[in-house]
């Protein structure tokens, strides 16, 4: 109790509170600009944290990431441009709801689920940090391989498009990840001697291109005047739009929060993968799975609760073992090291106040998110009342700056534009974009872990089932692939009998 009080004392002082509030607005701003990710918001904070004490520095990062992940839903809903990759899983649901005039219902659900999911994630973090980290630490390349294969299978399963088209889209994404230096032999693939290509296709410009540029092109091809305004109903009160959703889908919220916390704790799997998996699980167990993809709020509940929860979950391995759970905590570890604090079990013994302060900040950040988020939803109206002829050029500018700023590379702007055209052509021909994006996100992880596992197993494929957790995950993945076949065979036999 004494520790909890002194931890609270570290946070509830004017300076730190001011930083927290400023970080909340900063996070909302960056998150709602398409292409600027929560990771980028965190990276932009790093130079500022140099002059801060450890607690306000970490608090600023936690609050920024929490608000940015939510704010990513706003342009997703209004413009079909996910502000951060974490919103990509359910961007179609939100956008279709906006066309039905249900902006408040969509964003209200996303805000309230972000808050609740975030609080569940914080609780998961505070209660199970040591135990969960120890579990995730038993994961080797074999377990990660199967886990990412499961993730890829989700990409095809969650798609509403015909299976072959979804599969082709996934393969395109996987192909794009093979560009660049391979990790094993350092062999340049598909680089054509271009130094810019040795780093591979950066996920952020690819994402902006596929989602934003293709959308801008579609707008340009269609009716420029008035189309962004079309179907936007007048502002409605937020709270009445929230309660029915929360009551109806309370199971989804809690499940999404738990999934997010768990997935976040796995190193390498961040908010975006958490949202995808929660979305897929939600659809699988939904009473009305056919509604997914048609502007169904349940999908938003699944994804929004999971991605915010995973932000907290990622701190579990980061704090207990110094292994980042996602790209944001990778930066957090760097900031802590600069402050002379090495994340690890010793920090739980020697810097208990700091650990508790981080837990408190997570709860505080999510409570604060409700107010700042509601304000952001209100203000976002102004974004869509701007004539599209004015709005889309500005968005294009933001996209270009965003793609450039990731790596300060003009080449990334070309990548964004090229993939924008590809994304446009795909969508026009009913190829879903989402599997391609997930292929891009997971392709590197799958390959890296497959090759590492093959080297470790010296080519023995049975070794992939050698370790207990890997065996369970592997059997699970094979079941996902064969389940439709087995079900079909079973039905055939029943019909015959």
């Amino acid at each position: 109790m004494d520790i909890l009080l002194s931890a609270a004392g570290l946070i509830f002082e004017p300076n730190t509170l001011l930083i927290i509030v400023a970080a909340a607005f900063f996070g909302v701003f960056i998150g709602s600009v398409p292409g600027l990710t929560a990771t980028m918001a965190t990276a932009l904070l790093v130079p500022l944290t140099f002059v801060m004490e450890p607690v306000p520095a970490i608090a600023a990062i936690v609050v920024t990431a929490t608000t940015a992940i939510f704010a990513g839903d706003i342009p997703g809903c209004l413009l079909r441009i996910p502000g951060t990759p974490a919103s990509a899983a359910y961007v179609d649901e939100a956008y279709r709801m906006r066309h039905k005039g249900e902006v408040e219902a969509a964003l209200g659900a996303s805000l309230s689920c972000s808050v609740i999911g975030g609080i569940i994630g914080a609780a998961v973090l505070a209660l199970t940090a040591p135990w969960l980290a120890a579990f995730a630490l038993n994961f080797s390349s074999f377990e990660y391989f199967w886990l990412s294969v499961l993730g890829l299978s989700c990409a095809v399963v969650v798609s509403r498009a015909p299976l072959p088209k979804a599969f082709l889209s996934l393969l395109l994404g996987l192909f794009l990840t093979t560009i660049g230096i391979d990790l094993v032999r350092g062999f340049p693939r598909f680089t054509f001697g271009q130094p810019d290509l040795t780093g591979g296709i950066n996920i952020i410009p690819a994402l902006i291109g596929m989602f934003a540029i293709s959308e801008i092109m579609r707008k340009a091809a269609g009716d420029v005047q008035g189309s962004a305004l079309m179907g936007i109903a007048a502002p409605r009160p937020l709270l009445p739009a929230i309660w029915p959703t929360l009551r109806r889908y309370r199971v989804n919220v809690v499940r999404g929060g738990m999934i997010g916390g768990l997935i976040g704790a796995l190193p390498g799997a961040g908010a975006d993968i958490a949202a995808w998996i929660s979305f897929a699980v939600g659809r699988r167990f939904s009473r009305e799975p056919e509604k997914y993809g048609s502007g169904h709020v349940e999908g938003i509940v699944d994804g929004a609760s999971a991605n915010n929860s995973s932000v907290a979950g990622a701190y579990i391995p980061a704090m207990v073992f110094g292994i980042p759970g996602d790209t944001i905590t990778a930066i957090v570890i760097g900031v802590l090291m600069i402050k002379g604090l090495t994340p690890g079990p010793m920090i739980f013994l020697q810097q208990t106040e700091l650990v508790y302060a981080i837990f408190i900040v997570f709860f505080l950040a999510n409570i604060l998110l409700f107010g700042v988020g509601a304000l952001a939803i209100r203000l976002s109206r102004f974004v869509v009342t701007v004539p599209p002829g004015n709005l889309y050029p500005v968005i294009l500018l933001f996209c270009i700056v965003g793609a450039y700023a990731v790596n300060n590379s003009v080449f990334d702007v070309y990548v964004m534009l090229a993939l924008g055209v590809i994304g446009f052509l795909m969508e026009e021909n009913d190829f879903p974009i989402a599997p391609c994006i997930l292929g891009l996100v997971l392709g590197g992880i799958v390959e890296q872990n497959l090759v590492a596992s093959m080297i470790r197993a010296q080519g023995d494929l049975l070794y992939f089932f050698h370790r207990p957790i890997a065996a369970v995950l592997g059997v699970l993945a094979i079941l996902v692939w064969t389940a439709p076949l087995l079900l079909w065979a079973w039905r055939c036999r029943r019909v015959q009998a």
Binding site: F26, L36, M40, A43, L44, V46, P47, F50, L137, N138, F139, S140, S141, F142, E143, G180, I181, L183, R185, G186, F187, P188, P195, D196, T198, G199, G200, P267, G268, V320, F321, G322, I323, P324, A330, I331, V332, G334, V335, M337, I338, G340, T342, G344, P345, M346, V401, Y404, A405, N407, N408, S409, V410, Q448, V451, A452, I455, R456, Q458, R467
Partner: protein, 322 residues
Amino acid sequence: MHSFWKAGLAALAGVALFAPAAEADWPERPVTLIVPWAAGGGTDAIARKVANLLEEELATTVNVVNRTGGAGIVGHTAMVTAEPDGYTLGLATAEIATYEGMRTAEISYRDLTPIALINLDAAAFHVAADSPWEDLQSALDAIRDQPGEFFVSGGPVGAGYHLALAGLLQSQGIDPMALPIVPSDGAAPGLAELAAGNVHVVYSSVPEARAMRDAGRVETLAVLSEERLEAFPDVPTVEDAIGEPFAGGSWRGIVAPAGLPDDVRERLIEAMTEIYNSDDYREFMGTAGFGLLWAAGDDFGDFMAEQHERNQGVIQALGLVD
């Protein structure tokens, strides 16, 4: 926020044409410091500290720009291809001495103007806490007796630490191929593999393994340096462990593109000398656990040439190129 707009402005500035020329009154405008690794990592942390101190020394803004990807090739290429006008500097890392040998990129120390070597992090020999090996000698004996039985991880193939460890094996008459590498994307995933019992050795620096050491998951049998590390006096050097010295690891140094005017170079060396000897820099490096090593100008150039030669030999022995 700030650097975001700066980046935007830099994009616009890149469009405008201006003839770069080195003048005696350098620096007249902000200097860019390229970091070939991601924000938040060790190289990034050192670069930002140096940038801070350089701003005071040069009385101009120094912007840190992360150009990541391709095992550092993208960032190092950006250093090489920039105008040698003193407005683009880079924090080169040990990998610059490996690309040519690995045949992954046609850039090397010859394309750079060496300013100052400012850090060396020694590789180390980490094993899992439940490993049967009590000391370095028994580990080396086991690797020699059962080639191909044990695995090492901790980074991409051919990175600085990997070549250092391979060099240690070679110096003991062990074929480096006897300890196959399971490549990983840096120290942290490698240590996770070690803790999960999937590999037997990790060659990262000691500070990178600090948390796992404190957790009692990892033991360090030796550090590949001449002397024991100040922050880790309990870790024996290779000489302490097996009686023969061996040092190797990953280094970082400030460079400029080849062809930097002499007056700018002198000015930079002078500024870096001040920074390296400042209490501020030493305290920062000490608390973070980064090692110190100094060489300026041509001495740094000789150092890179020597590393380059040594890596060529190790890369051949590892069979990394045909």
